[in-house]
Assembly symmetry: none
Homo-oligomer: 377 residues x 2
């Protein structure tokens, strides 16, 4: 994997001749990191084990079994053991980071609080926490919690006094309809053709991250020719995106199969042209607005009487954003369907609020909220 066409890449090589650029180091992450020269890496992206503590099987409503992450590498005896592991790799990473370098770590509520506290303890300085909102998370099948629809990334510098880290503010802003880049990002999970498959046709790695996520990270906090280290390389998303975007990568992975899959994957990546690397546009989606939000904002207060356009049917707005029709309670759509004796109904256009002598569809209140939420890609 050569980047000779890139002047910055050549310079990096001369500065740090012993860096194993664009290669995967097969072995334990801490041992391998200790072989690298100090202060040699511009950016670290780490996707450590999450320490999920899963109890039994989980089945979907159709009784099919959820393919859980039950791999040995995600098993820890205790929080203490997990913390010790976390501190060890965070320290090893800190040594190889340049003074201007920054670290990204991704995790879920199972581990991210421990990681965050540990990195603060070790002197890292948090610049942001960034939320990856998933457009298509796995649902909560038992209806006993909120759908776990996001993961958290922590972006940190080596210390409070670390200056000169890379943040491509202007480019990010230009790519975000001239709005400042925010700490909440929206991406689909990795699936379809992008998802690496084994010979058996099954996913090659249980937790492969989407390339779009890594692209946003690298475009935010690194420059072309920079060295990006991933101590938990896995299926090699960091390497694939780094190659595509003209960055160097160093991966550490202890599983031989993952490393082999990543090598083949990265070999197939075609780097973008230098001109196109400057920018990555952000796509915007129409926001879905819940009626509960309309109620919570006080745009349609609880107790309000809704009617259809002709005033034939009516229902009462409840505090939780449902409607009450006599003793029956349900969504604006359900109740709309019930009062008409139909299978389905678009509650947004069916239900109206009296405003003076006229009736206003509740759909109108959505626009108010959408106007606010337009900021939030």
């Amino acid at each position: 994997m050569a980047f000779q066409r890139n002047g910055a890449a050549l310079a990096a090589r001369i500065d740090a001749p012993s860096l194993p650029l664009d290669t995967i180091l097969l072995g334990d992450c801490i041992a391998e990191l200790e072989k690298l020269p100090a202060a040699s890496v511009d950016l670290v992206f780490a996707d450590p084990p999450y320490n999920l503590q899963l109890q039994g099987d989980l089945r979907r409503p159709d009784q099919s079994l959820v393919d859980a992450v039950d791999d040995a590498w995600d098993q820890f005896e205790s929080f203490q053991a997990y913390d010790a592991f976390t501190r060890a790799w965070l320290l090893a990473v800190r040594r190889v980071l340049k003074p201007t370098g920054t670290l990204w770590v991704i995790g879920s509520y199972h581990n991210i609080f421990r990681v965050g506290a540990s990195l603060q303890d070790l002197g890292y300085w948090i610049l942001n926490d960034v939320v990856w909102r998933k457009t298509n998370p796995m649902p909560n099948f038992r209806g006993r919690r909120f759908t776990n629809a996001h993961e958290t990334m922590i972006w940190a510098s080596r210390g409070a006094d670390a200056k000169g880290y890379t943040f491509n503010y202007e480019a990010l802003k230009a790519g975000n309809e001239d709005l400042q880049p925010r700490s909440d990002w929206l991406f689909p999970i990795c699936s379809g053709a992008e998802r690496l498959k084994g010979l058996d046709g099954r996913k090659a790695h249980p937790t492969q991250k989407p390339e779009a996520l890594l692209a946003r990270v690298l475009l935010s906090a690194s420059k072309p020719g920079d060295v990006v280290l991933d101590p938990f390389f896995g299926s090699g998303t960091t390497g694939a995106v780094a190659k595509r975007l003209g960055r160097h990568f160093i991966g550490v992975e202890r599983d031989r199969d993952y490393a082999a899959a990543a090598t083949a994957r990265i070999a197939a990546v075609v780097p973008e042209s230098e001109e196109s690397i400057a920018q990555a546009p952000a796509k915007r989606e129409a926001a879905r607005v819940a009626f509960a939000t309309v109620v919570e904002r006080g745009l349609v207060p609880p107790g309000t009487r809704l009617t259809d356009e002709r005033g034939r049917h009516e229902a009462i707005v409840r505090a939780d954003g449902t409607l009450g029709f006599g003793a029956v309670i349900g969504s604006i759509h359900r109740i709309g369907a019930i009062v008409q004796g139909r299978e389905a109904c678009n509650g947004w256009t069916f239900w109206h609020v009296a405003e003076g002598r006229t009736l206003k569809p509740i759909d109108a209140f959505r626009d108010v909220i959408r106007a606010e939420g337009a900021l939030a890609g």
Copy 2:
């Protein structure tokens, strides 16, 4: 602040006569919590300080380049103090929480990782982390980081084995376009008329939370008449929303001015009508009806042929309310599972009776009996 019109509220008073319901306790949060009876509170919402007296300590005193180890040690000392404070109030809260009670904590990246790690260490069991995305966050003026556009809430039960916590799944789903509620919420920050002002016209409290956010929390994880405790009461948003939604509150606040402002604020709150607050009974809470009862009433006579929705499988109703599938006899659920070769099955929704040309799920007959029971009760 009386809730005499509410039967549940009266009962709560009788059950726990020493609970200072709907009042603000002026004093140190830990000392005040220790005066409350154990296992007496249904829900805790906590918005703890993250700068406290520690702010100077949390930051590096000078910008000089110090040895990294010394640097880490300095920070560890001050983080340690914050952690001690955090553990103390988390422990005090844990004592007053009912076994079925849950805790919400809100914070930003400055403190939330420490809070999350501490509460895991103390045995709390995280149910979700929930992200409050702000429609209108304060911009990042220097353009050196992402706009900090969210805060994080942690929702936790007392322990991994704590069952029976309140989660109003069906109501939340009905209020969200009939989609299950997600872990990312979108609300504006508290501003305008909702923002409490002092006599000088300036904001009365620096971190007043929006009522819509608290409303979502209370509607998600509490029932009418529940006791909601806020150990860092501040401007009293928790109390105002609790009163509006027919929940009791207990606030602890050590600042006399904040407590006074909160008292006045809450006195002006008009509770919602009982109808708009009353909860629809969740399906899992509905009265159980045995299939034998359905058969005994003749709603589905013995000998009836049941099929699945597609007519692929069939079974015969027996007089005792079991099903026969060839020589195999069992409950509607067991036989439903067996004919499909599955572990489990909800026989109520799986099995259908022919009615004219259409198929009707046997679940429909349960409603008939429940309706009778409602009349009797």
